[in-house]
């Protein structure tokens, strides 16, 4: 029952997100709006109920499985990228390899600097 109740809450926030997406926020996916609403709701309530905790940890454990079907979609685009294949693969791969350490180090540096400042 806990799982069902928690899942109902998550679906409710998803559906409110869908309504807000159509009404006011066409550039944001409904699930992202739903996530923000859930955070606001939890802040307001001050704690996470057992049902929401059960449903969310249950779903998040299987996130890679849920992402498998969309990721399989890369099989569709072989012929379309053939013309620009080199440009595409190099730019996507190189920018990824550069941005991960850049973001990690910048964030780590800024955190350490802030902690040092707060320390004095």
């Amino acid at each position: 029952m806990l799982l069902i109740r928690g899942l109902s809450w998550l679906i409710l926030f998803q559906l409110i997100g869908t309504a807000l997406n159509v009404l006011f926020l066409p550039f944001l996916p409904s699930a992202i709006i739903g996530m923000v609403l859930l955070v606001v709701f939890l802040r307001f309530r001050g704690r996470v109920s057992d049902s929401i905790e059960t449903a969310s940890s249950g779903l998040l454990r299987f996130l890679p499985l849920l992402l498998t079907p969309p990721a399989t979609g890369i099989m569709m685009y072989g012929s379309e990228i053939a013309a620009d294949a080199a440009a595409i693969l190099v730019s996507l791969t190189v920018s990824f390899i550069l941005v991960v350490p850049l973001v990690g180090h910048l964030m780590q540096y800024l955190i350490k600097r802030q902690l040092r400042k707060e320390g004095v």
Binding site: L7, L10, I11, F13, Q14, G17, F27, L28, P29, S30, A31, M35, V36, L38, V39, L42, R43, V48, E53, S56, L59, L60, F62, L63, P64, L65, L66, L67, T68, P69, P70, A71, T72, G73, I74, M76, Y77, E80, D84, A86, A87, I88, V90, S91, L92, T93, F96, I97, L98, V99, V100, P101, V103, G104, L106, M107, L110, I111, K112, Q114
Partner: protein, 239 residues
């Protein structure tokens, strides 16, 4: 047609066949990953490298597969909403690191978009291709909408998002290890910003704090790019 091949066709045509196949290859990946702990054998990577040839052998196109496994994909929406829970649990830390998060987001977001466009442009990609590449770090629905808006090809943008996802699962945590990023929140920021949902999923494997910052970075990166990229492109066209 003999009885055996009739039975086989019936099995393949059953609505649960492709769901069963997906669950099967995923568990195989999970087992391999738990044995080896090699990023190359992450369940997501194993699953898609087995699924693609399997679908090809069965003579199935991707849209047929996508429709058949819709019950699984449908759960992605509540799972995305569920990311709000780790975000809430780590709210105190996120507020504490408000400025580091914002500065990293701006610098990282601009950097990854500019480097991608610059490299592709130098290698001869045309305007439509550049606009399709630009949203590659975003989560699929935002990336498709943004590509559409700035003059790219939405379906192809989804393909680049997925290629980035595969890079994220393969190399994300490894890149952070070899360059010495140890702070959980910094690892989460990098994975979420550079590799959206798959990066966030990898980050959650490392822990709640890493996962929360990845979910935060993925959402903010999506929101900020959706707002700013069309404006920047419009401005560029006026010059």
């Amino acid at each position: 047609m003999n009885a055996l091949s009739m039975a086989w066709s019936a099995v393949v045509a059953h609505p649960l066949f492709l769901i069963g196949l997906t669950l099967g290859v995923y568990q195989l990946g999970q087992a391999l990953y738990e044995r080896t702990r090699m990023a190359l054998l992450h369940p997501l990577i194993v699953a898609i490298t087995l699924l693609i040839p399997a679908l090809w052998l069965l003579g199935l196109e991707y849209p047929a597969y996508r429709d058949a496994v819709f019950p699984l994909t449908m759960l992605l929406a509540p799972a995305t909403v569920a990311l709000g829970v780790p975000l809430y649990h780590n709210m105190r830390r996120i507020r504490q690191y408000f400025w580091p998060v914002m500065i990293t987001l701006m610098v990282g977001g601009v950097f990854v978009t500019v480097v991608t466009l610059l490299l592709a442009w130098l290698l001869g990609a045309d305007f439509a291709m550049l606009m399709t590449l630009a949203p590659k770090s975003l989560t699929t629905p935002i990336a498709m909408a943004v590509a559409e808006q700035v003059g790219g090809i939405a379906a192809l943008a989804a393909g680049f998002v997925m290629y980035t996802a595969v890079l994220g699962a393969l190399m994300g945590p490894w890149l952070l290890n070899v360059t010495g990023v140890t702070e959980p929140s910094a690892r989460g920021m990098a994975l979420g910003l550079a590799a959206h949902a798959v990066g966030t999923s990898r980050a959650l494997e490392e822990g709640d704090e890493t996962g929360a910052f990845a979910a935060l970075a993925m959402s903010l990166m999506g929101i900020v790019t959706a707002l700013l990229l069309p404006v920047c492109v419009a401005f560029w066209m006026m010059l």
